[in-house]
Amino acid sequence: MTGPLELAALNAACAAAIDANRLEAWPDFFHDRCLYKVTTADNFEKGHQAGLIYADSRAMLHDRVAALRQANIYERQRYRHVLGLPLVTADTDGLVSAETSFVVVRTMRDGQMMVFAAGVYRDEVRRDETGAWRYAERIVVCDSQRIDTLLAIPL
C-alpha cells in the first residue's frame, strides 16, 4: 500500500511549482508518456472526451509552458492551490490511482481575488526509474463548467 503522504508530497510539490511560477518545473512531475487533461464534472460524468487542455506527452506540457512564456498574452496573475489529502482508490502493480480535492484562488495584477477553480485531481501515479513518483495520468475535473475570462496557467 502506498502511503497517501507520498502522494500528498508529490501533489504539494507540483502545486508549489505552479503557484511559485516555476512552470518550467511542472512537466517534470509527469512521465514522458502521460495524459494531462482539464475538464469538468459534467463532461467527465457524460463521458465527453475533450478537454480545455489536452496533452499526451510531457513534451506537450513543456510546449504549453513555452507558449505561456513566449506567445500567449494574458494579464499578470497567480494561483494559490489548496489541496486535500489524496484518497487512494486503487494500487495495482505499482500503478496507484488517487483522488485529491483542490481549490485554486486566482489573484490578478490589481489584487482582485476569486475562487478560480475547485474540483478533484483524478491521478494515476507510478515510480520512474529513479524511484520518484510521477503522474502517468492527471485528469483535472473542475466542479464548475464556467471559466472566468481564460485558462492560461495550468491547474
Partner: protein
Amino acid sequence: MDQPVRDLPVGAWPPGLTRVPYWVYRDPGIARAEQARLFEGPCWHFLCLEIDVPNPGDYRTTMMGAMPVVVARAEDGAVVAFENRCAHRGALICLDDGGSVKDFQCIYHAWRYDLHGNLKSVAFRHGVGGKGGMPDDFRPEAHGPRKLHVTVQSGLVFGTLVPDGPSFEDTIGSEILARLQRVLHKKLEIIGRFTQQLPCNWKLYMENVRDTYHASLLHTFFTTFRITRLSHGGGVMVSDNGVAHASTTLAPPQGPDTTYAGMRADNEGFRLQDPSFMRSVAEFNDDISLQILSIFPGFVLQQINNTLAVRQIVPRGIDSMDLHWTYLGFADDTPDLRAMRLKQANLAGPAGYVSMEDGAVGGFVQRGIAAAEAETSVVEMGGTSADTTDTRATEASVRGFWKAWRARMGL
C-alpha cells in the same frame, strides 16, 4: 476625409459604418433595447443542437439573450421551443440543463404543460371541497409561455419570437448556408461543453469573431513557434444584410500536410517539442483549413483544421457575457480522427493557443472605454463597405455586424 472620433453627442451615430461610438457597449438603455429588438425581435437565435433532443420528451434549456427558453422534441418528432416561464407566477418551468419528460410541470403550483408548452391543467382548478379554485371563465388555452418559431438546419436548432420574417436560410443567404452545410454535413457527436465568462459587452466578442484583421497580431502562437502558415489564400464572405459571415483560410495548394501541418524546417527561434497536436486531415474534401462562421447576433461555428465547435453568446448584463462552447465530432469518427480532434482542441477554447486572448481582449476594451462616452472606435481597415472580399486584412465583416445591428435597432 478622416472622420472625427471624438466629442460626439452621446446617442448620436456618425454617418457610415466606420465609426462605432463607445456608448453602445456601456448604455443600459441599449441593453434593454437589444433584448426587445434583437433577442426577442426578428433574428434567428441558436438554441441547441438537434442531438440534444433526440427523442420525444427530450428537452434542453437555453437562452435568447436574457430570456430563458425550453427546447423540446414533441410526440410527433417536431422540435419545438417556448419561453421557460410558467404562465401562472413566472417561475422557471424547467430547472436543469436538459432531460427527458412526459410533460412539463411547474414545481411552484404544479401547473402542467404538454411538450409544446400548452397549458394542460391547473392544480386545484375547481378548488377543494367546493371552495376556492379558479373562476369558471378561466380558459387554460389562453395562458401559456410565449412560443418560438423553430427551424432545424444541419443539426442546429434556431428559434425566433417573430414568425413572419424571412426564413433562416434566406436570412443568412445561400453562400453562407453552403459554408455551414460544408462543415455540418453528417450526424454530430458532442465531445465537450464549456462555458467561458467574458468581462465585456457581448458585442465586443462578436466583433472579435468577425475581425479577420487581429488574428495573426493578437494570437502570436503560430509565428512565435515558426509554424509557417503556408496557407496564404482565403477571404471573408459577408451576407448582403450583414447578418452572416464566413472567413476562410486556404490550405497550401498541395493539400494539408498530414504529418506536421505547416511546420517550417528551420532551427531558429522557438520550436515545439511535440508538434504532434498539429497533425490534421482534410476531412471536408476541399482546401479550406480554417473557417469561422457567424450568424447575427450570437452564433459561431468554428472549423480549425479538425477542431469543430459551436459557440453561443449569451449577454449577462451590460459588461459581462457567457460564451457557451460545444466541442463537436462526428458520430462516425475513426479513433484516429477523434484523437486528432482532442489534441487539436488545444488550439481553441478558453485555454486555446490561438484563442485564449479573445477571452480577455474584450475586457481590455470594456475597461479602456470607461470614460469615452463621446468617442468612437475606427473600423476602417479595408475600406468603408461590408462586402465580401478576398483578403482578411479588412474589417468588412465587423462593419457587416453593425449594418445588421443598426437595421434592427433603428439607430
